[in-house]
């Protein structure tokens, strides 16, 4: 067991455990926020696991999750829009915290990978993850008022 896998374990136990607790209890607005943040945490730990197992192919899992995770959150934001109108799901402090964690993980992995194709891929995954997370958070907090109904 090396440091990367240890970091992934800690991130999973702490971050994903908190997300599970948040999604299982409390009002609906808290649950959708927890669902959104679980994507960031799990994607970051998948990237750490790829580095820990020393298999660059595992980065594809993180890439897929960085693309599809925010899509899943947008599905909830769209279809639960009526339930969320009187109870805005805004948690920007938590969002920026997870964005910071994601950025730190991606930077650490880039330093470990060194310049090259792998680093470009990691940067693309990180940009997709952080961008998607911010868009999904904005959608949950009612940022896109023009897109309604349906």
């Amino acid at each position: 067991m090396n440091g990367w896998i240890l970091a992934a374990t800690v991130l999973l136990a702490g971050g994903a455990g908190t997300a599970l607790w948040g999604v299982a209890t409390g009002p609906l607005s808290r649950r959708v926020v927890a669902q959104n943040l679980s994507t960031s945490v799990v994607c970051a730990s998948l990237l750490l696991l790829a580095q820990g197992y020393d298999r660059t192919a595992y980065v594809d899992l993180g890439l897929l999750l960085a693309v599809l995770g925010p899509v899943g959150t947008l599905v909830f934001a769209r279809l639960l829009a009526e339930d969320l109108t009187d109870d805005r799901a805004a948690a920007w402090g938590l969002t920026w915290t997870t964005v910071g964690v994601d950025a730190a993980v991606v930077v650490a992995l880039c330093v470990a990978a060194g310049p090259g194709r792998a680093m470009v891929k990691l940067l693309v995954v990180g940009a997709l993850l952080i961008g998607g997370n911010l868009v999904a958070s904005r959608a949950l907090s009612g940022g896109f008022q023009g897109v309604r109904g349906g």
Binding site: M1, I5, L6, A8, T9, L12, A13, A16, G17, A19, L20, V23, A24, L28, R31, V32, A34, Q35, S38, T39, V42, S45, L46, L49, Y53, R55, A57, Y58, D60, L61, L64, L65, L68, G69, V71, G72, V75, F76, L79, L80, D83
Partner: protein
């Protein structure tokens, strides 16, 4: 010690599955279910089956919640129309 990550992933999966059963509202169940999909993907990855994990993540994170939420909305609408 090397199995710690497997234990954590399995515990998270068991917790998410239990929560998905314990929560009663279908819309909230869909939220827990998307987390369960993510955790199952992690379990497959730490058990060195990333191909299975890849398809599990694709299906579990976006497709299953979408299908459930669409069905819930349709049922709710039909219920409202029947109420009138």
């Amino acid at each position: 010690m090397a199995d710690a990550v497997i234990v954590v992933a399995l515990l998270l999966t068991a917790g998410a599955a239990t929560a998905a059963v314990a929560v009663r509202d279908p819309a909230r169940q869909a939220l827990v279910l998307s987390l369960l999909g993510l955790f199952l993907g992690v379990v497959f990855t730490v058990l060195q089956a990333p191909d299975v994990g890849l398809s599990q993540l694709a299906v579990g994170s976006a497709l299953t919640p979408l299908l459930i939420m669409l069905s819930v909305r349709k049922v709710r609408r039909r219920g409202k129309e029947g109420g009138k």
